[in-house]
Structures are given as C-alpha cells and as structure tokens.
C-alpha cells in the first residue's frame, strides 16, 4: 500500500478558537475514507485546510505527487487542485450562469493545452483541444448520468442531480484524490443507494482515492473502508466500520457524555 496523503499535527485557530487541532492522518492510494463527527466537529474546516481555502495554523499536509512527497499546506487552492486534489462543496457551488456541460468543461481548463493566443486566433490547436474537452466532459457526464441534461443550466437541475454534477465537475479536474463534502445531503434513500454505487464505480474506474464527509451513517458504514471520527476539532477514533461502530468514544461523542 502506497501512502498518498499524510497529515501531521494539523491545527487551525480562528482567533482563540481551535477549529481543528493536532490531527494526524495517513491515507493510502485507492482507499475509500469516511470522515464523520457531530456538527461543528471541524470536518469542513479540515477539508478547507486540505484544499487550500484556509491556511493551516500549524502542521504539515503532504501529498505524494508522481512518487514524491510534497507539502501542500497553505498553497493556493488552484495549485493544490493542479497537484491532483479535487473537491465538492457541502453548500453546492455550481457555476450559475453555465450549462451542465460548461460546468464540467471549466474544470478541465488546466488540461486544455492551449493558451490565450490560440483562443483569440482560433488556431487548429484550439479546435482540436476544444473537441477533446467536449468529448471528455461528455464522458464524465455519462458517468454520473447527466449526459442527456448537458445543455440545461446547472441551477435548473434538481438537488440530487446538482450534487452529482458537482462530482462530475470534480472528476473533470482529473484528481488522484477526491474530497466529497456531504455528497448525499438532501438525497432520498434510493438516490443514496445509487450514489454509493456510483462512488465505488468511480473509485475503481479512475483509480481514485476518495475521502468523504457524511452524516448518513448507513452510507458511510456501507461504503467506506476506513473511518476517521472528529469531535471538537480532534481526531477521537479511526478504524474499520465495525471498529468505529463499537468504539465507546464515538458513541459518547454522538450521544452525549452520560452514556
């Protein structure tokens, strides 16, 4: 097993408040990881640290890129994305004025392979690259079952489809590791089942490592191979779904101290 992401002593303070403190974590290539914890436990802050939205107060985040370890903590989000880390957002952030297809195309821009001059002069490079981008984008949309809706405005999609479009868009950034922030939020049980199958399929097809934050325990227990539990910004447990289900710290974190 190859180590892909290593987090050492990661902390983030907002003023005097420690939203995340002293987290250590190792994630191997190809794993499906769940990140759980009560509301306000620091899960999204942790994601934001890893994806560059926030700068860590302390600690290291190392990503293995082309066999070499690289410190990514504090880099700008677009840099981190170009090193192979893509994400979705808990509060859906699709591009409102764009169609479904354009949303996906946008994420491929770093692989467009042509510059602004080719774009202005419409060289053959531009036409070839645009054709490739279109084909590829359609492929990603087919994966999440949105190909037929490609020309609709992204914001006109129903909620569950918007979540899947976020996944397609993140996929189009061609990541090695994918972060999904509450991908099943607002979905009905049938949609959640489909999502579970989809995530597993994408992991296998694109050789992805996937980390997801989720409140739907059946999805997490069913899908994830390893689970990390955060509470009050600290990592309180980690292990397989069975281990987590029987961990007393986790149970007390969720149900309150007196249990």
């Amino acid at each position: 097993m190859e180590e892909l992401l290593k987090v050492t002593g990661l902390s983030k303070h907002f003023g005097g408040l420690a939203a995340v403190s002293g987290i250590n974590m190792e994630i191997n290539r190809g794993e499906l990881i769940g990140l759980i914890g009560p509301n306000g436990a620091g899960k999204t802050t942790f994601f934001n640290l890893l994806t560059g939205v926030y700068e860590p107060s302390e600690g290291l985040i190392e990503l293995t890129v082309d066999g070499k370890k690289q410190q990514i903590g504090g880099l700008k989000p677009y840099k981190i994305t170009s090193l192979g880390l893509a994400r979705t957002f808990q509060n859906i952030r699709l591009f409102k004025s764009m169609t479904v297809l354009e949303n996906v195309k946008l994420a491929m821009h770093k692989n467009a392979g042509y510059g602004v001059f080719s774009a202005l002069l419409r060289t053959s490079k531009y036409y070839n690259a645009e054709r490739w981008i279109e084909e590829k984008a359609c492929e990603y949309l087919s994966e999440v079952g949105l190909y037929r809706k490609r020309n609709e405005l992204a914001t006109n999609l129903p909620y569950g489809e918007q979540r899947r479009l976020e996944i397609a868009r993140a996929l189009a950034a061609q990541p090695t590791i994918l972060f999904l922030d509450e991908p099943a939020a607002g979905m009905n049980p049938q949609e959640t089942d489909e999502l579970t199958a989809l995530i597993r399929h994408l992991r296998d097809k694109y050789n992805l490592t996937i980390v997801l934050i989720e409140h739907d325990m059946s999805l997490v227990m069913n899908l994830c191979e390893r689970i990390f539990v955060l509470n009050y910004g600290q990592l309180i447990a980690s292990g397989t779904p069975e281990e987590i289900q029987n961990n007393e710290f986790v149970i007390s974190a969720y149900l309150g101290e007196e249990v």
Binding site: T44, N48, V53, F89
Partner: protein, 292 residues
C-alpha cells in the same frame, strides 16, 4: 516651520469637512455595504440650501446650519427609500450603479435649474482673524472646528447611548439577527441615512462658506475624497472617519503647499490605492471572511 504650522491649520479645517462627509459614507457602508456615490451630492445640496436661506431668507449661521441639516437629512432618506431600498437584496454592483445614477440625477438636476454659475454667500460670519503666535486662524476656521467637534460628540452619544444607536450597531453587525430581536431594519437604515446626510449637509454649508462658492458639481471630488478618508480610517468606524478625514485634508493641503497644486487630487487617489493594497480594512477596520 511657521508655514508648516499654518498649513497644518488649513489642512485640519479642510480635513474636518472631509471627516463630516466621511462619517456618512462609513455609516452607510457599515450598515448596507453600499458606496453611496450620491453622498457627495447631498453635500452639494447642503451648500445650495445654505446659499438660499442666507441670501433670500436672511438667516443667520446657526438657523441656516439647522435648515441645511434637516433638508439634507430628508433628502438622504428619500434617496434611500426610492433608489436603494428596492435593491437591498441585489448584488453590490447593481446597487453601486444605482448610486452612480442617483448622483447623476442630483448633479444635473441642480445644474439644470441653477446653471453652472458659481454662487457666493452673503457675509454672515465676521471676517476676524486671530493671530496665535506664528499662525493665523480665521473665524470660519474656528467655526468649522467647533461645529465638527460638537457634531462628532453628538453622533457618538447617539450611537453609543440611545436605543436607535444600539439598533444601528445591531443591524450593521447582523441584519437578520437584529430583525429577529424585533428591530425594524428599514427604519434603522433610514435613520442612518438621515444622520449621515445631515452631517453632509452641515459639511456642505461649511465648505460653501469657507470657499465662498457653490457649484452643481462641487460634490463629486470631495465626495470621493471623503470616501477615501473613510476607507483610510477603516470603513464602518466612526473614529476612523475622523482620523481619515483629517489625514486626507492635511495630506492634500501639504501637497499643494510644498509640491504642486496640480497633484492635489492625485495624492488622495494614491493614498487610497496604497491603503487598499497594504491594509484594505483601514486603520480601525475589521476583517470579514466568506464562509465556505
């Protein structure tokens, strides 16, 4: 040195006027996040109102000042109710374009009726000048200082001690929470415009008397400068507006005295850009962050 002190006095009087205008910008921006482009024009209306009541009604200084403040305060509330209120939920750029539109309407309506001629004032203040050692202070400069200080104290009392002042602070901190606490957000915003515009009206009268001139477009540049002062002090901060106003006034006066009067406006914009680059929140500003 003597000349420097003299320029400092001149700078402080100009700065006091900027400070009064800057207060309106800072309060309005603090509460609805809008650069009220028309604020400089409210100041212009203040200067014209003073011209009318002193020339045609023969009012003395204090009654005229009061009338200016009332007229401009009402104008500010009207502007808010008619042009900005429908846009409270709109993107900031939409509101900003509206503000530019309002500014055009006020400027050119005034020009339409008053023409471009410069209006001058009757002598309602003595032309006495006091000699304080090496520097001289004119009567009007003393008036500017006193009015500014009195209005600043009044404003601080209103904001800190009264119910409506608390409401203003609550709405600017969190509009929705304020609403849930039973504060009428609409009335609070209107009140903010009332106070800010009244201060601009006072400033307009003072500047009209100081330079003995009122023109329809006189509010544009000082309006922008006062905004720069507000940014310099930290937008949303009342002491910031005072410090920023004085600083801009002094800087501008010194550039005219020791550099070239041609660059008097350029220095203000240069200060603005430097502040925005180095510390966009200004001297007393607070940081805000978008939630992801």
């Amino acid at each position: 040195m003597e000349q420097f002190l003299q320029q400092l006095i001149n700078g402080l009087s100009l700065g006091s006027i900027y400070a009064l205008v800057a207060l309106g910008y800072t309060m309005v921006y603090g509460i609805i996040k809008l650069i009220n482009f028309a604020h400089g024009d409210v100041y212009m209306i203040g200067a014209y109102t003073a011209f009318f009541v002193t020339t045609y009604l023969g009012m003395g200084f204090l009654p005229a000042l009061l009338v200016c403040m009332i007229v401009c305060g009402i104008l500010g509330v009207l502007i808010e109710r008619i042009a900005y209120k429908p846009l409270r939920k709109a993107p900031r750029i939409t509101a900003l374009i509206t503000a530019i539109g309002v500014s055009y309407v006020i400027e050119y309506t005034t020009q339409f009726f008053m023409g471009t001629t410069t209006r001058t004032y009757p002598a309602i203040l003595p032309t006495t000048t006091w000699q304080l050692g090496p520097v001289s202070i004119s009567y009007i400069q003393m008036v500017i200082f006193s009015v500014t200080i009195v209005l600043m104290i009044l404003l601080t009392l209103i904001v800190q001690k009264t119910k409506i002042g608390r409401a203003m602070r609550a709405v600017s901190a969190d509009e929705n929470a304020a609403k849930l606490m039973g504060i009428s957000v609409d009335n609070t915003i209107s009140f903010t415009f009332l106070i800010g515009s009244a201060l601009a009206g006072a400033a307009g009268m003072l500047v009209g008397l100081y330079y003995n001139a009122a023109t329809p477009l006189m509010g544009m540049v000082p309006g922008l400068k006062a905004f720069v002062a507000a940014v310099f002090g930290g937008i949303g901060s009342i002491p910031g507006a005072l410090v920023g106003g004085l600083f801009i006034g002094i800087a501008e006066t010194l550039v005219v005295a020791y550099g070239s009067s041609l660059y008097r406006d350029a220095i203000v914009y240069a200060i603005l850009i430097l502040v925005l680059i180095i510390k966009p929140t200004g001297l007393f500003g607070k940081n805000e962050r978008e939630k992801v």
